[in-house]
């Protein structure tokens, strides 16, 4: 241990300078990290806002060369796809997360954990091919269901791992208190442990939904896209990312403008979900809030 008083003056000054430089560097890094988002947001606002009006949310895409129109069917389609994905991804993801946390040392849990990580890292186009093979090829046509299943499959590992982490944050003492009160194991898991971890699990679920909302690759040969209104699960369905892609690579200026507006709306949806996730974490009863 060296005391400040016995330190040579020069070394102290040098440490002050080093400190200043390092703090400056971290500030710089933090700023640069947010730059891409700021640029993207700024550019989208610049290009997209002019095309956002009521029509954009209610009308069908216009034929080439015609002004006006919107992406109403794609917005509705994306909501349908998210709904199907959530119906598949949330119960399975939360259930397996609960299992992983409660039986953390069992051999099956170790295997499932590794597989979930592999699934998490799987390129989304591969998930799309899987859904095509299983749900498109046998039926002979593209469908909203196949798209929703592909997105749901992507949600499972995300939800599973966050659920496991959140449940592990619940103190063992709480579990023991419930067991000592005469709660059975499953009742303790569901009514005390899962309930206590719920705000965190909800946050994880919303983050997973935000993550898949913008996925394009798994939808390319499953949901396919649709120029018309259709909410049926058995038929091809429009989706915002697909519509943006289709319009952005087209040669028409009107379509380009709609694509910019669509991108802005998509970011808006993801942003709204993230805000909701933060609000859920701050909930009064439960972990993570106070």
């Amino acid at each position: 241990m060296t005391h400040g008083a016995t330190m040579p003056r020069r070394s102290l000054t040098r440490r002050h300078v080093t400190n200043k430089v390092m703090v400056g560097l971290t500030y710089g890094a933090a700023f640069v990290a947010t730059l891409p988002l700021l640029f993207i947001l700024g550019y989208l606002l610049l290009k997209g806002t002019t095309s956002i009006n009521l029509d954009f949310f209610t009308r069908l895409p216009p034929p080439p060369g015609e002004a006006g129109g919107g992406m109403g069917n794609a917005i509705a389609g994306t909501l349908v796809l998210i709904g199907v994905a959530a119906l598949i991804g949330l119960p399975i993801g939360i259930g397996s997360g609960l299992y992983l946390a409660e039986r953390r040392d069992s051999r099956l849990a170790t295997v499932v954990r590794v597989l979930a990580d592999v699934l998490n890292g799987l390129p989304s186009i591969v998930v799309g091919i899987f859904a095509w093979q299983v749900l498109v090829r046998p039926f002979g046509h593209f469908s909203a269901l196949a798209g929703g299943v592909a997105l749901g499959a992507m949600m499972i590992p995300l939800v599973s791992r966050t659920t496991e982490e959140m449940i592990r944050l619940v103190p063992v003492a709480l579990r023991e208190a419930a067991l000592a009160l005469g709660y059975s194991r499953w009742r303790t898991s569901l009514t005390i442990v899962l309930r206590t971890a719920l705000p965190g699990i909800v946050t994880g679920a919303l983050v997973a939904i935000a993550r898949i909302a913008g996925e394009t690759a798994p939808l390319l040969f499953t949901a396919l896209g649709n120029q018309f209104w259709s909410l049926r699960l058995s038929e091809p369905i429009a989706a915002l990312p697909l519509q943006i892609y289709a319009f952005a690579i087209s040669p028409y200026d009107d379509w380009h403008r709609l694509a910019w507006a669509g991108a802005l709306v998509l970011i808006g949806v993801v942003f709204a979900i993230s805000v909701a996730a933060r609000a859920a974490t701050r909930s009064r009863f439960g972990l993570g809030g106070d």
Partner: protein, 250 residues
């Protein structure tokens, strides 16, 4: 409650060694001893909580009202419903209101869940017996995590006695509390005697002397001596007990 040849293990570690001890109904028994002597483990053998830890096991017999709770066919959940337990740190359920915390054990009580008005009555009586009613009666629907540490601990005691258990196990219940809250919990233990058989693990010998009828001294997993509290503290039979209570070790 009677323990015979009670042994408890964590894997290869022999934490409780051949303990035999009788607890008279309605008595307060204090278990004292240095850290790691097995007193908490012993306590957790009495409501079959020890076995919930991975690799932990128990051998021997613990009789409650003449029946061995470790006999084949006895459901540990049923045992725990008859024996209340309070831990070192307060463990209110954070997602539940004050009222629901006290009522938590009633949901799984034998004979089904009581009616809503019965629950309210039981909650009030449990909170009164835990000397907490006056402090929380206006915020029964608030989150239990808003209470102070001492109030949370008394809430846990209320939760444990709401189901009218025949035995109450207290594992260093005042270790994380300030002196004033400690005093309240001690008074509470004194009030509850005769009504329920109490076993309290404590590091604090003055506390054992103040509130217990019988004191048991443990050392390295063995029960060295159990005697009426006054006798144990004034004329211990075993030299190791004497060494411990006079502060020569531990």
């Amino acid at each position: 409650m009677r323990m015979r040849d009670l042994d408890a293990y964590f894997g290869a570690t022999h934490a409780v060694r051949g303990v035999a001890l009788d607890l008279a109904d309605g008595d307060v028994t204090a278990v004292i001893g240095p850290s790691g002597c097995g007193k908490s483990t012993l306590l957790r053998c009495l409501n079959r909580m020890h076995e919930t830890v991975p690799n932990a096991r128990v051998e021997g017999e613990v009789h409650l009202d003449g029946r061995d709770i470790y006999a084949r066919g006895v459901n540990p959940i049923a045992v725990r419903r008859r024996i209340g337990m309070v831990f070192q740190r307060p463990t209110p359920f954070p997602t539940m209101s004050v009222r629901d915390n006290v009522a938590a054990g009633l949901k799984v009580a034998q004979g089904g869940k009581p009616s809503r008005s019965d629950v309210n009555e039981i909650v009030e009586s449990a909170l009164r017996r835990a000397a907490l009613w006056d402090e929380v009666k206006d915020r029964l629907t608030h989150s239990a995590t808003g209470l102070s540490g001492g109030q949370q601990q008394r809430l846990c005691i209320a939760r444990a006695i709401a189901t009218r258990p025949s035995v109450l196990l207290l594992d260093e219940p005042t270790a994380s509390l300030d002196p004033l809250s400690t005093q309240k919990v001690e008074e509470l233990v004194y009030e509850l005697r005769r009504e329920v058989t109490i076993v309290i693990v404590t590091h604090n010998m003055q506390q054992a002397a103040r509130i217990s009828d019988t004191t048991a001294f443990m050392l390295m997993g063995e029960l060295i001596e159990a005697a009426p509290t006054r006798a144990l503290f004034t004329s211990p039979r075993d030299s190791r007990t004497e060494a411990y209570i006079t502060g020569r070790f531990g």
